[in-house]
Structures are given as C-alpha cells and as structure tokens.
C-alpha cells in the first residue's frame, strides 16, 4: 500500500515535472519562433503570462 502510494506520488511528481517541462518547452519554441521572424518586444509578456497559467 505504502509502496503503491509512493509510486503514485512519484508518478504525480513526474507528471507535474513533465507538465512544467512542456510549459517551458512551449515557451521556448514560441519565443524562438517569434525571435526568428522579428523581435520579441512585448510578445514576451504574453508568452510569460501564458506560461504562468
């Protein structure tokens, strides 16, 4: 039971980390895309706001 709980917790942590990673990766991709087609400027605030959600 304890092992199962700990496994579940571990899975949950992994999932959360994955979610966070995916948020950061999404930010990274979008920021680089904007940067390569022009300048970041105020768009970065939108991307930060998006990452905050």
């Amino acid at each position: 039971m304890v092992e199962k709980e700990s496994k579940t917790k571990e899975e949950s942590n992994t999932r959360r980390n994955a979610d966070e990673d995916s948020v950061f990766t999404r930010f990274e991709m979008k920021a680089l895309k904007i940067l390569r087609t022009g300048h970041l400027n105020n768009e970065i605030y939108e991307l930060i706001y998006e990452a905050m959600q």
Binding site: L32, G38, L40, I44, M52
Partner: protein, 602 residues
C-alpha cells in the same frame, strides 16, 4: 558538372552590371586591390541573406537612398534578388534568399576570410564560446534570456516600489482571511441552531408571558391569602386564648351561684323593704289613729263622752288616754322599727348591689366568651373560606405550571432566536467590514499593481530563465561535443601525423595534443603554442566542419588567399575535403595588375 552565373548590378565596387561564371569545384577569383573582389563576395553573400539579415547592409550597395541593386543567378541555382537602398538598410524586392537557415551565420561559416570570427579566435587564442553559441542558436536563447531578465528587473522594480504598500496589503489579506474564517465559523454555528418561526415564537412568548402574569398574580394572591390565613389563625388563637381566659374566669366566679346570691340578696332586700313599707303603713295608720284619738280626746273633753268618729262606738275618757299612750308607744316602736329597717334596706341594697355587680360581671364574661366563640366561629369560617380560596389559587397555579414550562421552552427558543440574531448581526457586520477591507485591498492592489501576480510572474520568469539557460547550455554543449568529434574525425581523415587530438575544453578554449618530437608521452599544447599555419589550418578545418554540418545547402565556400598562402601544401592536402563542403569553392587571389575580376577554374 554544375555551373552557375552570377550577374550583379551596382553591388559595392561593382558599378553597373557585371557577370561571373563558376564551375563546380575550385574557382579562383583574381583581381588587383579595389577592383571588386570583395564586392563579388558581397554579391554571393546577398544571395543567402534573409530579409531580416539585410539590416545594416546598406554599405553593400555603396549608393544613395532609393537606389536599387540586384544579384541574379542562372545555372544550378536560379534566383533574382533585387534590393532598394533605404536610410539604413537594404530592402529585398525580389526573390527569396537561396537558403533559409543561415540565421546570421552565413559569413562566419562560408567565408574563410581574415576577418572571420572563427579565424580571429584561432589566431588570438580566445574562447570559442561566442562562436559556438552562434552556431548552436544559443544566441537566440541569449536574446530571449536578456528579454526575460529585462522583464524580471522591471517586475522586481515594480515589486520593490510597491514594498511599503505590500505590508498593508498583507495586513488586509490577513484580516480578510480572519474575517472570512470568522464568518465561516458563525455560519457553521448558525447551521447548528434550528430555524425558528418568528411569528409563532412571538405569539407563544406573548401567550406564555400572559400565563406568567397569571402565575405572578396567583402567586401574589396566594401570598395575600396566606397572610390573611396567618392573620386569621393569629386572631383565632388570640381569641381562643381570651376565651380560655374567660372560661377560667367564669369557672372561678360561678355565675349561677352569684345569681342565686343576688336573688337571695334581692329577696332579702325586697322582704325588708316590704317590712319597712309595712311599718311605714302601720306608722301612718298609727299617726291617723293618734290624730283620731286626739280628736276624740278633744271631743270627750268637750262633751264628757263621745262616740268615736270612726266607728261610732262610745268612748271613755280614760280609755282614750290609754289609747293615746299605746298609740304613742306604737308610733315610737314603729318609728324605731322603720329606722332599723331603713338601715337594713340600705345595707341590703348595698349587698344586692354587690351581688348584682358580681353576677353581672360574670354574665358579661359569659357573654364575652360567647361573643368570642361566635367571633372565633366567624373567623374559622372565614379561615375555611380563605383556605379554600388558597387551595383554588394553588390549583389554578399548578394548572398554569404546564404553560409555565412551555414558557421555559419558549424562553429557550427565544434564546436561540437571539443567538441566531446575534450571529446574523455579527455576520452582517463582518461582511460589511470584509467588503470595506476588500475595497481597500483592491484599491491598494491597484495602486501597487497585482503584487502576488507580479511575484508569480517573477517566479515564472526566473523559472523560464533557468530553463532557457539550461537549454542554452545543453545546445552549446552538444555543439562543443559535436565539434570535438568532427574535428578529430577530419584530422584523422587527413592523417596529420603531428596532431594527436584537438579538443575544445569545457572552458571553450582549444587544446591541442601533439606528438612531441623526442618525447614518448603526449603533451597538451595551448593554441598559442601552434604555428600560424597550424592555427590557420585548424581554423579552416573548423570552418569546413561547420559548413558541412550547419550550412550544407549554401552552394558557395569562400577562402581568402591569406588563409591559403601560409601553407599551400596543407591546403592542397585538404582540397579534396573542401570539394565535399560546397558546390563552388572560391579562392580569392591578389593579382598584381589588371582592371577586371577574373574567375579561373582550377
């Protein structure tokens, strides 16, 4: 065999239209200084620059604003790029660049000229990190990180500016939380209290209060009656005591006996009075007799004999004397007896009076006792009535007790009702306070911006900076590792006997491991320990590796004469390798004389 022709118009020093043909493989561009060699290289560069990269490239045109330049190719690659000179930049009007992935790296990768940044590093022995960052797109990450840092600083400044207000905001937040908790607790308490029908409760209370009033009135009545009863009992007791006293008194004086005594005295008085009256009558008769005798005596004296005036009998003179003396004697006796009886009467009257008094007093006592007894009876009757009344009142009160217990229930309910009211009032008051505090909180928040939001943003920015920095390092590291592998592969392929290993260290400085002559062991050489030709060769190899790996699609690779001139034998050695890097290898050479730029295939 692939061929390409580049036609230029007004590019740099190549004024007007010019045309250059290149064949797949090595091509040597020869011209004296200031004829147009570099401009041709610029024209080649213009083929690959994206619109964004045209910024600050006005000098390529060397013309006035509004003028136009063009680079057109035919052959293996076909394009027609025309540009307008603006205030600072060139603006592309025609075709797209022939590659789309240069990302500002076209010149550093495809142009092995003396001012190539990679060559600069090799010749000066600086860190390769900026170059590797450029190749790895880490520059983009740096830009994003820089922007993120700006945002972080901006946010941090806003938070710092808001700091004095934050304490107040935090206080509001604590107070709001407290108030919310209190409201929640009160609401939970409220849930525990039953819902009460206010109208019914108040009717019940009114009714119960009536009953209470009745009870109070009954209680008062009972008290009054009890007091009356007590008074009555007291009166009865007092009267009974009096009766007892009279009874005792009557017993002592023996009324009947006294009556008899009185009667006896009265009889005696009456008898003696009769006797007195008899004597007085007799005296009166004697006095009459005496008068008669006197008269008869007068008559006899006058007539010698005479008849009695009263009876007519003849009377004698002597007899009359005797009669007179006898009468006088009788009168004296009678007067004596009368006197005696009068004295007796007075005495008997006194005695009778005394007996009368004694008897009358006793009778009065009797009478009083009777009266008292009657009074006691009356009082007892009243007492009975009062006791009955008391009993009635007590019964009435007892029957009212049920309502009284109902009153107690109502009171309990009313208490709960009051508790409910109290709780509701408290909740209302807290809600008002809460509303006010929220208003202040919102106002303060608005005045400082949303600090929690800003803090969250700051945290997010910080996390994003971390992420981007890590990713940047990963990419840089990947490129560093790839470079290390690719450079050594080229060295192995080229079979340079004296170079064992070339490594870009973690500090991004190049270290060379050579087979040192006369030593068995290997030794690390810093870049500065290499000869110029060794360094230039190393730079060229680095560029070859970079070009092959990062811009394989650009069909040109330009090598300046400076690079080749130091060690032509080494260049010769890597010639085959070069041919694999791009379709058209262009080597510039300085020509001592001439007026045109000529292209010679080797």
């Amino acid at each position: 065999m692939k061929k390409i022709t580049i036609e230029t118009e007004n590019v740099g020093g190549l004024m007007g239209k010019s045309s250059f043909s290149f064949t797949e493989g090595m091509n040597v561009v020869r011209a004296p200084n200031a004829i147009g060699k570099t401009s041709l290289l610029h024209a080649i560069e213009l083929l690959g620059l994206s619109n964004a990269e045209l910024k600050d490239k006005k000098f390529y045109a060397n013309l006035f604003t509004g003028d136009k330049i063009s680079v057109r190719t035919s052959g293996s690659v076909k394009t027609n790029r025309t540009f307008t000179v603006t205030k600072n930049d060139l603006v592309s009007n025609g075709d797209e660049p022939i590659i789309h992935t240069s990302k500002g790296r076209l010149s550093p990768i495809c142009f092995a000229t003396p001012n190539n940044p990679l060559f600069n590093v090799i010749t000066t022995g600086k860190s390769l990190r900026p170059n590797i960052e450029n190749l790895s797109s880490a520059d983009d990450y740096t830009k994003v990180i820089k922007e993120l840092e700006k945002c972080y600083t901006y946010t941090n400044n806003a938070i710092q500016k808001a700091q004095p207000k934050i304490a107040q905001i935090e206080l509001w937040e604590r107070q709001i939380k407290d108030a919310e908790t209190k409201i929640k607790n009160y609401q939970q308490e409220l849930k525990k209290l039953p819902a009460i029908d206010k109208k019914k409760l108040f009717e019940n209370i009114k009714e119960a209060e009536k009953k209470q009033s009745i009870d109070q009135q009954t209680a008062k009545n009972i008290t009054k009656i009890k007091m009356k009863i007590d008074d009555l009992k007291q009166s009865i007791k007092e009267k009974e005591d009096e009766v007892a006293m009279y009874t005792e008194l009557i017993k002592k004086d023996e009324t009947e006996k006294l009556e008899k005594i009185y009667n006896k005295k009265n009889e005696e008085l009456r008898k003696i009075k009769n006797e007195l009256r008899n004597y007085q009558r007799k005296l009166s008769i004697e006095h009459e007799m005496q008068k008669l005798i006197e008269k008869n005596i007068e008559n006899v004296a006058k007539y010698k004999h005479s008849n009695c005036f009263a009876c007519g009998h003849e009377i004698e003179k002597t007899a009359l004397g005797k009669l007179k003396a006898g009468s006088a004697q009788r009168i004296a006796d009678l007067e004596k007896a009368i006197k005696k009886h009068e004295f007796e009467v007075d005495k008997k009257e006194e005695e009778e009076q005394e007996a009368d008094y004694a008897w009358t007093a006793s009778a009065a006592a009797e009478n009083m006792k009777t009266k008292l007894l009657n009074s006691i009876n009356g009082l007892k009757s009243t007492l009975n009535k009062q006791e009955k009344k008391l009993k009635d009142e007590q019964t009435k009160r007892n029957s009212n007790k049920q309502n009284m217990s109902k009153l107690a229930t109502n009171k309990e309910e009313f208490k709960k009702y009051e508790q409910r009211n109290d709780l509701n009032n408290k909740i209302q008051e807290l809600k008002m306070q809460l509303e006010s505090m929220r208003k202040h909180h919102t106002k303060d928040l608005e005045s400082v911006g949303n600090v929690p939001e800003m803090k969250k943003r700051q945290e997010t920015i910080s996390a994003l900076i971390d992420h981007m920095s890590k990713r940047k390092e990963q990419l840089v590291e990947e490129v560093r590792n790839k470079f290390n592998s690719l450079i050594n592969q080229v060295y192995n392929d080229l079979d340079y006997k004296d170079i064992k290993d070339v490594t870009i260290g973690k500090d991004f400085f190049i270290k060379v491991t050579k087979y040192k002559e006369g030593f068995k062991d290997l030794a690390d050489f810093p870049l500065e320990a290499l000869s110029t030709s060794e360094r230039l060769t190393l730079g060229l190899i680095l560029l070859i590796v970079t070009k092959r790996h990062y811009l394989p699609e650009f069909p040109f690779f330009v090598i300046d004469e400076v690079v080749t001139s130091y060690d032509p034998s080494r260049v010769e050695k890597i010639k085959d390798y070069l041919l694999d890097v791009a379709d058209y290898i262009i080597i510039t050479q300085l020509k001592s004389s001439g007026t045109t730029v000529e292209v010679i295939q080797e």
